[in-house]
Subunit: 513 residues, 2 copies
């Protein structure tokens, strides 16, 4: 694979075109929220939820359907009943254990320039995770494929609103489920050099991922290189897939994002105060287990509590009640000094329409104001998380880029106050052609390829495209100009060899036996 | 017009149906933001902008193209040059005058139960103002008509996310411009009993409006009953329409919302710090004039500073830079203890699509967090303010209803913490059928008629409607069940008589001569 002159000029042409796509030219940069987090309930309210959740773990207890997890809790001093698989954790043990979790850590990327620090007032953005379907305007909604997965991975690499790539951005439904993790992780190592997420269910998947990560990183014992989400099977139950994954990741010092999924009124009380009590108990129990396995293991407090559509029984997303849960969830996580995970583009719309956009921003604004440290699902969500939409990916990425700009703030000094320029232009004049404007017109405002600001007639004459149609052009333009980050050829071969070997070994196997 | 049994039962049926439309059953209630306003720049930054704008009014000055206004400034002690129509206001005079404006006031409605208090942490929501076109999915975009106007007025009456109704929600392009104010105000008095806005340009329109208001209110000398927007012709110029309207309203003790309209880089410096310097100077000069005319006259500090699309030169809306301007604008207004006006649904989209929704929420979230006291354009905006869309009206109203819910907050007590219920349901159980859920399922969550949360197949089988299509059904359903608030028949006749008389007198007249 030598570099011919032809190839070089093709590279150069791609680079040049990329430099013109607003979403592709955002620099990779740490995002910080410079404002104090929005606290919507007073400290007394937080204490009430805290107290209530401690009582819950002491008196009601938690069902953990995994023998190793039960033993770990028991050895640490919790009361365990193996027959019923129930665990009761007293507040002393719980708080002591939770206190060992780090408030900050670094998520390593295979390109050290892309390492991401988690904690403090930093916000790391990550893509859609857990989708069954892919959709775009050309082909509609269909089962996810390897190609869809790779395309999302490429978009996440090209667009630097995304800090952390990977995870199950869409299910590889063209591939047996026993080997999907191998295909996903290889794609991640090939197509992105950012930090990556992976599914961490059970014990086999994590071990395979650690093996592959070791091939890329050499050693994964220092700062973590992989992270993923553990959901509680709410109410109050961790199954063996979740417990096994949590234990495997914690033991290897990798990142566990403990996230109860509570649709209030279905998997928890209908009242947000009650749902948050349950969320807090479930989250703390999971966080404690990571610290029992390995004190100091990187862990996050995840929030996914939302309201329920009482007509259908389905979870509702992007609602005022979910906004409360996010903001108070972050307040609770701060109480324990544990980095907080929220979500950025949740909605129940079937198409990337006004509902998709407004519900997503009812997800994004609260999570940004909350002081979240990682925002999953920051792009691509549709249909309650069932579908990853390429157009929605672009619409969301545009909004995330706007938050990056918003948090960047503006300068106030003699130059920007521009008194001389205002004087020179005078009453009734124009600032369009001034040197002050000319020097800044290309950089002073957030640039958007998505927002159409043409006059109605011009817009109509050009086809009258809505935002989804324009987004369709943008993602195709981006993928057409994608280039993979360099990866050593021998390493590529080694990864391929490992994947091939394991695919044979895992053929037809149930990974959770 | 007696009440026949048939009529009574028709009324009852309408009331019943209205009670099922979520947007029509929201109670008329004061909205308060219980959180401290988001302050994005420190007090030193506010002082820099303040200082800079004072220097601007002292050194650069302001052009006021109205003889009476010039005389008023001069008598108050400002330096005036009548030949060039320039005014220079020193900081002592400016601050002393501005300090006389009230921090709070009550906007009276013809139904006293609909009076709206402005100030403190209250937020009053008002509709779209200043649109040339109306649009809906059935008939597309067309010139606004009296019927469109009346329909917006009816929606604003029915839907209690709207606190203040009226204003030029759409231009009555089927009516000569010299008599539109008469038709608008009569429609407002007929179709709504909420506080109302009106255009306050020049001197003839305000006088007519005061005459009509006196017929309805008896006396308008106490708390104000009318309010409207005065725009500065930025940079640094008030024309006679604006100055005349400002003087007329202030003299009559009615509400002036002083709003510089600065598209940064066109009508002001491209830097937000510079644009805000200019905005602050323009706003303070206008506010000062209201207080020179009548100390204590109700006045508001308006913000409409936004970024510019540097490709077309047109104003951009719903941008991160506009969000800064809104938030800092509110900080400035608080410095002077003057109620603040922002905007709720600004965007440049041509159709009620994802762009329309996301830009609008980039307008709504900042203005809600800013501590705004009145939010104009909270519903209905499309296309940079050129078009009032019926579907967008519903989409925006839904979002405003969500803010009302969000700011309402949730209770934390033993009952809502629901520990007993969590215990009873136990691990792995369901909360759907519990008495705790059943007692609350109809009221615990924000109810939406707009958000579709059906499964994909069900949604597709029902026609696969997007949010705009569903909004289309909702506004038609609302209008079909509208009923006017009672208004004395003699008063109706008197208003009609006045309008008829003035229409003859004003035929073909230029109202700004």
């Amino acid at each position: 694979m030598g570099t011919t002159p032809d190839r070089t000029s093709r590279h150069a042409a791609r680079r040049e075109r990329r430099a013109e796509i607003p979403l592709a030219k955002i620099p990779f940069k740490e995002l910080r929220n410079p404002f104090p987090p929005l606290e919507i309930i007073p400290p007394e309210g937080i204490e009430k939820i805290h107290e209530s959740s401690l009582r819950l773990l002491e008196e009601v207890g938690l069902c953990v359907m995994d023998a190793e997890a039960l033993s770990l809790y028991e050895k640490a001093g919790a009361k365990v009943d193996h027959a019923s698989q129930m665990v009761w954790i007293d507040r002393g043990l719980l708080m002591e254990t939770v206190a060992q979790a780090p408030a900050e850590f670094t998520w390593r990327a295979r390109n050290p320039e892309r390492n991401v620090r988690i904690g403090s007032n930093r916000i790391a953005l990550a893509p859609n995770v857990g989708m069954a379907y892919a959709s775009d305007l050309d082909r509609g909604r269909r089962r996810g494929t390897t190609q869809d997965y790779e395309n999302f991975c490429k978009l996440g690499q090209m667009c630097n609103v995304i800090h952390i790539n990977g995870g199950e951005m869409v299910a590889l439904q063209d591939t047996p489920s026993s080997i999907r993790h191998l295909r996903r992780l290889r794609a991640n190592f090939l197509y992105t050099d950012k930090p990556i997420m992976e599914a961490l269910h059970g014990r086999i998947i994590p071990q395979d991922c650690f093996e592959m990560a070791k091939m890329v990183f050499g050693d994964i014992g220092g700062d973590p290189v992989l992270g993923g989400v553990i959901n509680c099977s709410s109410p109050l139950r961790y199954d063996d897939r979740m417990a096994g994954g949590l234990i495997s990741y914690a033991r290897a010092g990798q990142i566990v994002i403990v996230t109860p999924f509570i649709s209030a009124g279905a998997m928890g009380p209908i009242t947000i105060a009650g749902a948050l009590t349950q969320q807090n108990a479930e989250a703390l129990a999971g966080i404690a287990l990571t610290q029992i396995v390995r004190p100091g293991a990187p862990v996050m407090y995840g929030n996914f509590t939302t309201s329920t559509d009482m007509k259908s029984g389905a979870p509702a997303f992007g609602t005022p009640e979910a906004a409360w849960a996010t903001l108070v969830g972050a307040q609770l996580a701060r109480r324990y000094r544990i980095p907080f995970r929220g979500s950025g583009s949740l909605n129940t719309a079937k198409v990337p329409d006004a509902q998709a956009a407004y519900e997503s921003l009812w997800s994004a604004w609260p999570v940004m104001l909350a002081g979240a440290h990682i925002v999953l699902h920051s792009v691509g969500w549709l249909e309650g998380g069932l579908t990853a939409s390429f157009e929605k990916w672009i619409i969301d990425a545009e909004n995330m880029a706007m938050f990056i700009r918003f948090f960047g703030g503006f300068e106030i000094n003699d130059d920007t106050l521009a008194l001389d320029m205002i004087n020179e232009v005078g009453p009734g004049g124009h600032h369009f052609g001034t040197p002050h404007t000319q020097a800044r017109f290309a950089t002073e405002f957030h640039q958007s390829a998505l927002a159409d600001r043409l006059g109605y007639e011009t817009w109509a004459a050009a086809g009258g495209w809505d935002a989804a149609k324009r987004a369709n052009q943008i993602w195709k333009d981006m993928l057409a100009h994608y280039e993979p980050p360099p990866l050593d050829a021998a390493l590529q071969q080694a990864l391929a060899g490992f994947v091939q070997k394991r695919e044979k070994e895992l053929e037809g196997k149930n990974l959770y036996d």
